[in-house]
């Protein structure tokens, strides 16, 4: 899978760095520490800018190339920042058969962005994700932790409007 890499300037805070150092210290002597470190670092920063990956590489005593190899391999790791509301449209088979592609089209039309992109105002980001296992509710999308099931494309505008107005 191709990864988009952010070119926004890094804006990490000292508090975040302190948390990151604690994560590295906790996993340092573990076998296979890179993945847990990246997972927890993404929780702290929301994404994995190269500065964070450099700190992890130094902290674990491995090359940046090795860390970068892992972070670009797995789809869970994001090298671009997410919007305030991250929309994931499930494109698993059950959702696809029930018209998830039309739901995705309706969202891209409304927001003017493609999957893996973020709106210029930083409000929404969009992902086409793998099966989240809620096949009983197909087609499904999630906005942050909120799940919307049994969707039809016509509902999309109304749902997004709620978030734009700050009612959600």
């Amino acid at each position: 899978m191709q990864k988009r890499i952010s070119n926004l300037p890094f804006s990490g805070t000292p508090e975040q760095e302190e948390k990151l150092n604690a994560i590295i210290a906790r996993h340092k002597d573990e076998k296979g520490a890179i993945m847990p470190c990246l997972q927890e670092a993404q929780e702290v920063y929301g994404y994995l800018p190269v500065e964070v990956q450099t700190m992890i590489a130094r902290g674990l005593g491995v090359s940046l190339e090795e860390v970068f190899g892992v972070s670009t391999f797995y789809s869970q790791f994001s090298l671009t920042p997410k919007g305030r509301y991250n929309i994931s449209v499930c494109l698993g088979t059950a959702c696809y058969v029930k018209g998830a592609a039309n739901v995705l089209d309706a969202i891209t039309k409304n927001l003017g962005i493609q999957p893996e992109e973020c709106t210029p105002d930083g409000l929404f980001s969009l992902t086409a994700c793998r099966c989240i296992g809620a096949c009983g509710l197909a087609p499904v999308m999630t906005i942050n932790d909120e799940v919307y099931g049994r969707l039809v494309p016509e509902e999309v505008d109304g749902i997004l409007e709620k978030y734009k107005n700050g009612d959600a």
């Binding site: 296979g32 059950a94 994700c129 099966c131």
Partner: protein
């Protein structure tokens, strides 16, 4: 003792439709009526009938409430729990008999034909409480193994049971264990594959969410059998509820001395760690999974050496799938003969399927091997909804194939499915109807494998991309008959030359749709027509002059002005201008617009 137990489904499906809020409201209402000493609320795992979620069952009556809303809770508490009157309005309608009495869930068509072994505790116990697991004979099999049996006896039982790996390939579990047991090493590992990556499959997740201890117990049994003291569970990070419940289960098992050092005072040590996957389909392949646990890019390794000799951290390792583990304790407790008596001769036991797509009862079903697809779709699944007809069932996800209507009476087991060009796979079963284009579905799976190919070997990295390009050419109306032959030839090349199962099985969706639905491919290239009306480039919108009232609504909504006509006269779509957005069809109040 409580007089009533209220079980609320806490699986991912029902949680997504607000079952947490229902539990919260239940507790509040019960407290408000002063019933908290009489009525117990339990959050369970998945009941299986996800289409009707959120689900709530009240015992001892066994009243099965479906599609419960938080606002229904006060009525259920007031009427049922306080006054003892079942709220019939909210019951799963199939459990209501004509004379107004309620029948048992096991008599409904959805549950009646099922036999639950792997799912036996899902929707029955509270997965976050080890005492409830112990109350249903939990950890008894481990006790029996450690105190009464030798490791060899355990392996012999597993071999005799005929259990085959439920992850998809169907390798005999006992045999796998015996290989790892025979190899000497200072450290061996037992791994659980909970990286359920097939889109449309969710049985492993439901077992982890509904019955996490069974996986821990079975892994400890395997540890004893092969001489391993460390286990790893590799679980998808996308399954937060499963991860949380597994961690709770591990902590509780430690507290009870059922994991850790000197288990049951026998001197046997076994511990389990969780490892979170990060969203890579290839990590469901055994060698890639082990590379990923080692913290690296999850790329597969060539076999041999097989993991039983050199697996995780280069030590002998066995890896089994969640559903396989869920069968182990029952085989130990009930004996291999019992297990062998269920299912078919070469595929013993049951199989869990995640039923999805165009089917009435979406959900999880567990049936004995040898059940026919017709029984699953028409009886248990309740058939295809909205008056459409069954076209095919897709099993095995991106590695599998399609079972067409003509093969609906095949008895489903590992070998029969392979013989008709499909495969068992992990158990995702997506039902498709006449509105599904089979070329489009093959393209959908290829898009998936192109994305998920790890890139290590050329046949898979480049081959899947070339396959997708040919499919795109066909669905965009530019294909030729030679393209179909080229497509088929390339499929066989990929099967023979790819390094791991991902590339070897990636062509299966194409090959099986070519086998059974070649006419659809041919219609796409020769007639430039998509019979199911899915492929946009080949579909045109038309207005039926007999139905059109000339209301002008479609013309006003067309973004490119492709629709013309005067008021109260039938309108016409200029197919040259039309961008096929479908806006007119959505807006038409008379159903006059059709695509074909």
């Amino acid at each position: 003792m409580y007089r009533s137990n209220v079980l609320v489904c806490g699986g991912t499906g029902c949680t997504s439709s607000n079952s947490e809020l229902i539990i919260q409201r239940l507790k509040e209402e019960i407290k408000a009526h002063g019933l908290e000493k009489e009525v117990n609320v339990i959050r369970t795992g998945c009941f299986g009938l996800c289409a009707l979620g959120p689900i709530m069952v009240v015992y001892p009556e066994g009243a099965f409430y479906s599609m419960v809303k938080p606002d229904d809770v006060p009525e259920i508490v007031e009427e049922h729990l306080l006054k003892g009157r079942i709220v019939k309005r909210l019951l799963y309608q199939e459990t209501v008999v004509d004379d107004n009495s309620v029948k048992s869930l096991n008599d409904t068509t959805f549950y009646g034909k099922q036999r639950r072994i792997a799912l036996r505790n899902c929707g029955v116990i509270n997965p976050e409480n080890i005492d409830e697991y112990i109350a249903v004979d939990g950890y008894q099999a481990l006790g029996k193994v450690l105190t009464e049996m030798t490791p060899q006896q355990v392996i012999d039982i597993m071999k005799a049971s005929g259990l085959r790996g439920r992850g998809g390939a169907g390798f005999p579990t006992g045999l796998k264990w015996s290989f790892a047991a025979a190899n000497q090493a200072d450290q061996k590992y037992v791994c659980c594959n909970a990286d359920e990556g097939d889109p449309g499959a969710f049985m492993d997740r439901s077992i982890l969410e509904g019955d996490p201890h069974v996986v821990l117990e079975s892994m400890a049994i395997a540890g004893y059998a092969i001489g391993a003291s460390q286990g790893y569970i590799y679980v998808r990070a996308e399954y937060p509820i499963a991860v949380k419940r597994l961690q709770i289960a591990i902590d509780q098992a430690h507290e009870y001395g059922l994991l850790g050092n000197d288990i049951f005072g026998t001197g046997f040590n076994f511990d389990i760690q969780l490892r979170l996957g990060a969203g890579a389909f290839v990590c469901g392949e055994e060698t890639a999974l082990m590379t990923s646990i080692e913290g690296k890019r999850g790329e597969p390794r060539p076999r041999p050496p097989f993991p039983a000799l050199k697996g995780l951290f280069q030590k002998p390792t066995i890896l089994n799938n969640v559903e396989t583990w869920a069968n182990v304790t029952q085989i130990i407790l009930n004996g291999p003969e019992w297990f062998k008596s269920i299912g078919t001769e070469r595929s013993a036991g049951t199989k869990v399927f995640a039923l999805g797509g165009k089917i009435k009862h979406t959900g999880l079903v567990e049936v004995p091997m040898g059940t026919t697809l017709r029984e699953i779709v028409e009886e248990i699944g309740g058939g295809v909804p909205n008056g459409h007809t069954f076209k095919a069932a897709q099993t095995g996800g991106p590695s599998g194939g399609c079972i067409p209507a003509s093969e609906m009476d095949v008895k489903i087991d590992y070998d029969n499915l392979l013989a008709i060009g499909a495969m068992m796979g992990s158990g995702g079963m997506i039902i498709m109807d006449d509105t599904t284009c089979m070329v489009d579905i093959a393209k959908f799976f290829l898009e998936f494998t192109v994305d998920e190919s790890c890139g290590k070997c050329t046949p898979c990295r480049v081959g899947t991309r070339r396959l997708l390009e040919i499919l795109n050419k066909i669905t965009s109306g530019n294909g030729t008959l030679e393209d179909i032959d080229r497509l088929e030839k390339l499929c066989y090349y990929l099967k023979e030359n790819s390094l791991c199962a991902l590339g070897q099985t990636a062509p299966n969706p194409v090959l099986s749709t070519l086998k059974y639905f070649r006419d659809e491919y041919i219609a796409h290239v020769t007639e430039k027509r998509c019979p199911a009306g899915v492929c946009k480039a080949l579909t045109n919108y038309y207005i039926d002059p007999a139905k059109c009232r000339g209301c002008t609504l479609c013309a006003r909504n067309c973004p490119v002005g492709a629709i013309t006509g005067s008021v109260k006269q039938p309108h016409v779509i200029d197919t040259q201008k039309c961008i096929k957005c479908g806006a007119c069809m959505e807006k038409c109040k008379f159903g006059a617009i059709d695509k074909r």
